[in-house]
């Protein structure tokens, strides 16, 4: 059975084709779109929950997508240790689905931010296996609700377990308030579950896999998928 990257598409996803392009074209790995109504992930070795505005972001970002039929399969896949990457709205969906702790609030500025920012790699995870802790990546963001929030206890647990994977920083790696685009607690841009196989982040690595679009640092995130595809084949 061929092993593929599966990119989940909800009504209102708009980063799904960018993700498909990053994996299928830039990485050249077998990739298929997974419709939100599908109920099994046979043949899928890597799951990507893409960015966008699933279900119009109604109620709360990701709140309705969480109940889409495909999410039961995604939950089982994640619980078996399968690698899952939630990007932007995908991150919001994974928190609403309780696959990752915390929530994403409205940006502190109340503005939608569309920009290039820097993040520092803080800890190991499946999705940071091709970068080093301490590396600084330049990635695009495009979100209105990206302010990471969790209660004090959860933040302390994430920090002590090394589940904070990406933190907003300046070009030199300094974590400063003015390098935090949305008011996220502890400048958190991305986190992992305890198993380190599920990662969610607000920046868009899949939109930075080709120098032609202004940067290719995201390629160093998405290439992690190759190891799962090789092992699984």
């Amino acid at each position: 059975m061929s092993q593929q990257v599966g990119v989940v598409t909800f009504p209102g996803s708009n980063g799904d084709h960018d993700a498909w392009n990053a994996f299928a074209n830039d990485l050249g790995v077998p990739t298929r779109m997974v419709d939100y109504r599908e109920t099994d992930l046979d043949g899928i070795a890597v799951v990507v929950v893409p960015g966008g505005f699933s279900y119009g972001d109604y109620l709360r970002c990701g709140a309705i997508a969480r109940f889409a039929p495909v999410m039961n399969a995604v939950r089982e896949f994640a619980q078996r240790g399968g690698p899952v990457l939630g990007i932007c709205n995908g991150f919001q969906v994974l928190t609403e689905a309780h696959l990752l702790p915390g929530a994403l609030l409205r940006n502190e500025s109340l503005r939608f931010h569309c920009d290039w920012i820097h993040v520092k790699v803080e800890n190991r995870s499946f999705w940071t296996s091709d970068v080093e802790v301490g590396d600084i990546l330049r990635l695009p963001i495009a979100h209105g609700d990206g302010s990471y929030f969790a209660d004090d206890e959860t933040i302390a647990r994430l920090e002590s377990n090394g589940q904070v994977i990406f933190r907003y920083c300046d070009a030199n790696g300094a974590v400063l308030d003015n390098a935090n685009p949305n008011g996220s607690r502890r400048a958190i841009a991305g986190i992992a579950n305890e198993g380190r196989n599920v990662v969610g982040l607000m920046p868009h690595p899949e939109r930075a896999t080709d120098p032609l679009v202004g940067g290719a640092d995201g390629r160093r995130i998405v290439t992690a998928a190759l190891s799962a595809l090789q092992v699984a084949v």
């Binding site: 928190t95 609403e96 929530a103 409205r106 502190e108 109340l110 929030f149 969790a150 209660d151």
Partner: protein, 93 residues
């Protein structure tokens, strides 16, 4: 026998959760001269019509869906402000 009920559920950001919408509204009120306003928190209100055998069953169902869907317990609290039999024009279905 099934009856129709209507619930008003109010969802608010938890204490300690940043609410930039509320702060922006507070700033706007101050700009308009309402200097006495000291704090604004912005939430959501839902009006849910539901068929249930009795008030207790309706309340249980509303509480469950509020926990699961209408509010995110990580960042929000909810209150069932009212639960009343659905009567009048809205009841004709």
């Amino acid at each position: 026998m099934s009856n129709a009920w209507v619930a008003e559920v109010v969802v608010m950001p938890k204490a300690g959760v940043n609410d930039p919408q509320g702060e922006a509204i507070l700033g706007g009120l101050h700009d308009l001269g309402y200097r006495a306003v000291s704090r604004v928190r912005a939430g959501k209100q839902f009006r849910v019509e539901i068929d249930a055998e009795n008030e207790a069953a309706a309340r249980n169902a509303i509480a469950e869906m509020s926990d699961r869907v209408l509010a995110n317990p990580v960042i929000e609290v909810y209150e069932i402000e009212s639960l009343t039999p659905l009567t009048g024009a809205g009841a004709e279905r």
